[in-house]
């Protein structure tokens, strides 16, 4: 097992066909129990993602995008009310695994996770190099020496100077700490990496640098990214596909080529219209009102109360309609 993980690192020469599915999520529900009622954080989410593609999950705070990532990774709090559906990774249904098996076989080996603000969560009393190597030692049983050697390799890949591995977290700048975290996610060579707002706390130039590294890694290695962010402009740096969430639902899932030019769902359109752009002059819009509460969300389309294009049918919940040129949108306007 250890050997395979190490030899897999080499650059991938043949490109697998894009039709090969790595991750398939079907009817995923994650509800939380609170004192006020049941919060439907992720409601009936389905999508699939091809190998070596990268998916950007966009949405405002509270739309369920982080809950979705945590559901895929089964990093759940105690107050889970419902957790159901299908998550198939590489042909294996993860929902059928018990927790211990999932922890051993999936986390780090198959999926690694870069949580939000992870760079501030590095252990202050351990050297950065050890922390990067640790998943290999713990999860794959690799010897310390070998793990350190591999840590140097991944540090080079993410652009972290090798001598920084002997330093402590407080001796590194924010950008370098974020690189260390990404190195840690890469070290076990998992096919899927979930990045939750990987650059949101960083400066513009550092952000551009990290995005460059992530693109570089994607070109050289066999990785699939799920990038969770609310920053639409930055998401376009990495995305092949875009999934927009609103109030716990997927409202649009489109190829990036089309999405950034012509989003289809009214919410996605409004969201794009509110993004300030540097180079072109445009009249910015904002979306009046607020997302609905996820405790007893309204029946029908959840965006309808704020939607400029609503009509009678919106009182009924729309299914996901297939769009011309690929992708789906959850809106009655797409019905034919």
């Amino acid at each position: 097992m250890a050997d395979r993980a190490l030899t897999n690192l080499g650059p991938v020469t043949e490109t697998p066909s894009s039709s090969e599915t790595l991750l398939k999520v079907k009817d995923l529900r994650l509800y939380f129990r609170t004192t006020k009622g049941v919060v439907q954080a992720v409601d009936n989410v389905s999508f699939s993602l091809g190998r070596r593609r990268s998916l950007a999950i966009l949405g405002e705070s509270g739309c369920g995008k982080t809950s979705l990532a945590r559901a895929i990774l089964r990093l759940l709090p105690r107050n889970v009310h419902t957790f159901s559906g299908e998550i198939v990774l590489d042909g294996v249904d993860l929902m059928k695994m018990n927790d211990e098996w999932f922890r051993r076989e999936i986390r780090w080996r198959k999926i690694s996770f870069v949580p939000q603000a992870a760079m501030n969560a590095l252990n202050p009393v351990l050297r950065v190099g050890y922390q990067i190597a640790e998943p290999l030692i713990v999860h794959l049983g690799v010897s310390r020496e070998e793990a350190y050697k591999r840590a140097e390799e991944v540090a080079r890949v993410v652009g972290l100077p090798v001598d920084f591995l002997n330093r402590y977290a407080f001796e590194l700048s924010g950008g370098m700490r974020q690189r260390a975290i990404i190195a840690m996610a890469l070290i076990t060579n998992p096919p899927l990496i979930i990045l939750d707002e990987p650059t949101s706390a960083l400066d513009v130039l550092t952000q551009a640098n990290i995005m460059n590294s992530l693109k570089d890694i994607k070109r050289k290695f066999d990785v699939t990214y799920i990038l969770i962010t609310h920053d639409i402009a930055t998401s376009s740096e990495l995305a092949d596909e875009v999934l927009v969430m609103y109030a716990g639902h997927v409202v649009e899932h489109s190829p990036a080529e089309r999405f950034y030019k012509t989003p289809m769902h009214p919410y996605a359109q409004k969201l794009m219209a509110s993004v300030p752009t540097l180079r072109e002059d445009k009249q910015l819009e904002f979306i009046p009102g607020q997302p609905p509460s996820l405790i007893n969300p309204p029946k029908g389309c959840r965006f309808a109360p704020r939607c400029p294009k609503r009509f009678e049918r919106c009182a009924e919940e729309p299914p996901l309609f297939a769009l011309d040129g690929g992708g789906v949108a959850k809106c009655w306007l797409m019905a034919r």
Partner: protein, 324 residues
């Protein structure tokens, strides 16, 4: 007072934080602000753009009198600001913080939060205060006012909290508003709303506004004049359209090039980003502070002498030897 006179005049402002070893031995200074000068007129909006650690927040804090300047002077409405008239200064400057939730006391309701500045500054009689609270709430569109008065900060959405912070900044009828990244914690769809509100308030009351941000793409929706800061100095001053069209300082160029517009093609190419990171402000590099990262560095000049301000085009100032 002249309506188009100078409201705030900052001259050669330096703010250095002292570093200490073992708590008492002087171990040098962090030069958080190193020689910044500008004038702000009544009713003018100014944006300061810079990365974290470039000194933009220190500039704000110095203007608010929260940290004393090490060197240089500050004049507000024609009066020199010093330790003695800080109360007078702060009555006329409203502060909009970055994180609205952190800036609002969780145990006070909306009414109390807006009342507090008037109590502290002994402004108005009780019924006048009550009327003023209603007035500002209507102005920031927290309506119907009656519904919002008894609410606590946690009962408001992020956008509403930021509106409340703006209302609090306005309640004493200030002449100047300083806003430190007022929208960086908010969702994209709300950002525009808040910037719009700030802009409207600024025009309605002829307020001076200093808007601090690291996000250049929001600037053009807010003000005309932009300063770009790097490592405690202002490196470029110009009109926002001019800067976007024709950035002169190599740092400004890099910064603009690094900002993506939503476009699928971004994913297909790498960005040209200068290597390295901003310098330490304890021992800043000699000469131009950007020279270690600059691709157009002139050896013997940029690494020796601090560039003065040049004006290659009218109204466009840049501190870079390339424009000598």
């Amino acid at each position: 007072m002249l309506e188009n006179g100078v409201l705030l005049s900052v001259k050669d402002l330096h703010t250095w934080y002292e570093l200490r070893k073992f708590g008492f031995i002087r171990a040098g200074y962090v030069r958080a602000l190193d020689g910044v000068s500008f004038d702000l007129r009544y009713g003018e909006a100014l944006t300061i753009v810079g990365e974290s650690g470039s000194g933009k927040t220190t500039l704000l804090k110095t203007i608010l009198g929260l940290v004393p300047p090490t060197k240089g002077t500050l004049e507000f409405a024609g009066r020199r600001v010093d330790a003695k008239n800080l109360d007078w200064l702060r009555r006329q400057v409203g502060y909009v913080q970055q994180d609205p939730y952190g800036a609002l006391p969780p145990f006070m309701n909306v009414r109390r939060i807006l009342l507090e500045p008037m109590i502290i500054n002994k402004v108005g009689r009780p019924e006048e205060r009550e009327a003023r609270i209603r007035e500002v709430l209507e102005e920031v569109r927290l309506v119907p006012v009656e519904d919002f008065l008894p609410k606590f900060p946690h009962m408001l959405s992020g956008g509403q909290q930021q509106r409340l912070v703006i209302a609090r900044a306005l309640v004493l009828r200030p002449k100047l508003i300083v806003a430190d990244e007022p929208v960086s914690m908010l969702d994209a769809s709300v950002r525009v709303e808040i910037l719009d509100l700030l802009r409207r308030v600024q025009r309605a009351h002829n307020l001076g506004v200093i808007y601090i941000t690291h996000d250049l793409s929001t600037v053009r929706y807010f003000s005309e004049r932009v300063f770009i800061m790097y490592a405690a100095k202002v490196v470029e001053k110009a009109d926002v359209r001019e800067i976007v069209r024709n950035p002169l300082h190599p740092y400004a160029r890099a910064l603009l090039a690094a900002i993506p517009d939503p476009d699928y093609e971004n994913a297909l190419r790498f960005k040209d980003v200068p290597p390295g990171e901003p310098p330490s402000l304890v021992n800043p590099p000699p000469g131009c502070r950007f020279h270690p990262r600059c691709t157009q560095m002139i050896p013997g000049v940029c690494d020796r002498e601090v560039p003065p301000e040049f004006e290659p085009a009218p109204g466009h100032f840049v501190s870079c030897w390339l424009y000598k």
